[in-house]
Amino acid sequence: MSTWRIARLVAVKDLRIEAHSRVLINQVLPFAGVTMVIFAFALDADSVLERVAPGLVWLATMFSLLVLVQRSFAVETDDGALDAMRVAGLDPKAIYLGKAAALSVELLILEVVLLLTAVILYRQTIPLDGVVLLVLTLLTATCGLAAVGTLYGGLASGFKGRETLLPLLTLPAVAPVLIGATRAVESALGTAGAVVSDGWPWVGLLAVFAVAFGVGGSLAFGPLIDE
């Protein structure tokens, strides 16, 4: 069976698990929302909040990514399902791509909710000429985050201290996404006088990052989980 078909099966399976367990809706979204509110308390001045809102959206996304990745691999290790997939000879590239695709869908939902929260809490506006840049930023950043999260989630899933190991591995690796996505969203929203054209190079960086980690991750995932 082809890699893409297995990847689709794995992605559908992960999304079905989410549909049954509702961890994204009942736990991750509230966690991200609380994080945004706490940022608002900590940075009380409106001018500061408006200035840093794009960065706060992506910081909340990063923290929520860790919860989503932990959950994504907990369902695989609770009863040895990841091992069972490897024993069954399923292509590790397909497992990686499928899990990354499901994680991307969940992250996109999360990011849209966080952006809407920023509009309400941090008084952000989304200008019409920035919509395309904003959408492409969300897509490329999401792919990059999912690629990194799935790779390190798979690696950490084999270790006893996985809960602490995952943030240690993931957060430094996604720093370029945090920087690039924040700058690009600032340009899309016109934060502090930024213009849309400033954002495109950052989207390019995000795309390169996503492709590099996507390709590297799909090649490295098999040996990592086999170890």
């Binding site: 069976m1 297995i6 099966l9 399976k13 079905r16 698990i17 049954h20 367990s21 369902v75 609770d78 009863d79 040895g80 399902a81 091992d83 069972a84 997939m85 490897r86 024993v87 069954a88 000879g89 399923l90």
Partner: protein, 227 residues
């Protein structure tokens, strides 16, 4: 559908397992030190031995999960040195865990594994019926099942993905008396239909009654056979 694998590509007269002087290493430790074993189609072979004797290592070697360091080995006519991925696709290994997704229903779990090999809906339904997990169990989340029901669901997954050689590590662990009886009946039926089964167990009386042959695994070597 029979419990017998439908895509059997091994001729009846050839052994399903043919190991000669096999050596497998766990870390630096030679967990299997020159083991030789021949198993023919339809046999249920019991591996006896103390903890750490190499029973699980032998099963993992036969599943293509460990490299063959020395000696020769063929599983279902496939070379253990050069065709490990193919071996994995045709072998089912059921260890201490069942490899199930707790948040999915019984039906969704079996369908997922069936879909990985392109099983038809009729094949999936028949497998669940034969293993006694159809009807009232099919729509129950796996986390609500008893240990015995989980074991039977895991065996349904092996059947539906057409595993030709079943490798079972302590299959009776955690099951009550009636679940053990049900499991034994299932395994006898599968072997009667042509599946080949290797069982590693400490419960010598029960597993001995189930098996057609027993071999002793001691210090990584296989000593003698007993019909």
């Amino acid at each position: 559908m029979d419990l017998e694998p439908s895509n059997s590509d091994i001729e009846d007269h050839k052994p399903v397992v043919a190991l000669h002087d096999a050596v497998a290493v766990l870390g630096q430790f030679p967990a299997l030190a020159g083991a030789s074993l021949t198993v023919r189609r339809g046999e249920i072979v019991l591996l006896r031995g103390p903890n750490g004797a190499g029973k699980t290592t032998l099963l993992r070697l036969c599943a293509g999960l460990l490299p063959l360091v020395r000696g020769t080995g063929q599983i279902l006519g496939l070379d253990l040195t050069t065709q490990r991925e193919s071996v994995r696709r045709n072998v089912g290994l059921l260890g201490h865990q069942n490899g199930l997704y707790f948040d999915l229903t019984v039906g969704e779990n079996v369908r997922f594994w069936g879909a990985t090999v392109g099983a038809t809906e009729a094949e999936i339904a028949t497998a669940m019926e034969r293993l006694g997990v159809a009807d009232r169990l099919v729509d129950l989340p796996v986390r609500q099942l008893s240990a015995g029901q989980k074991r039977r669901t895991a065996l349904a997954c092996l059947v539906v993905r057409r595993a030709q050689l079943w490798l079972l590590d302590e299959p009776h662990a955690g099951l009550d008396a009636s679940a053990r009886d049900e499991l034994d009946a299932t395994l006898r039926e599968a072997a009667g239909s042509g599946a080949t089964i290797i069982v590693a167990s400490h419960e010598l009386e029960r597993a001995g009654a189930l098996s057609t042959r027993a071999v002793d695994v001691v210090a990584g070597q296989i000593y003698g056979e007993q019909s």
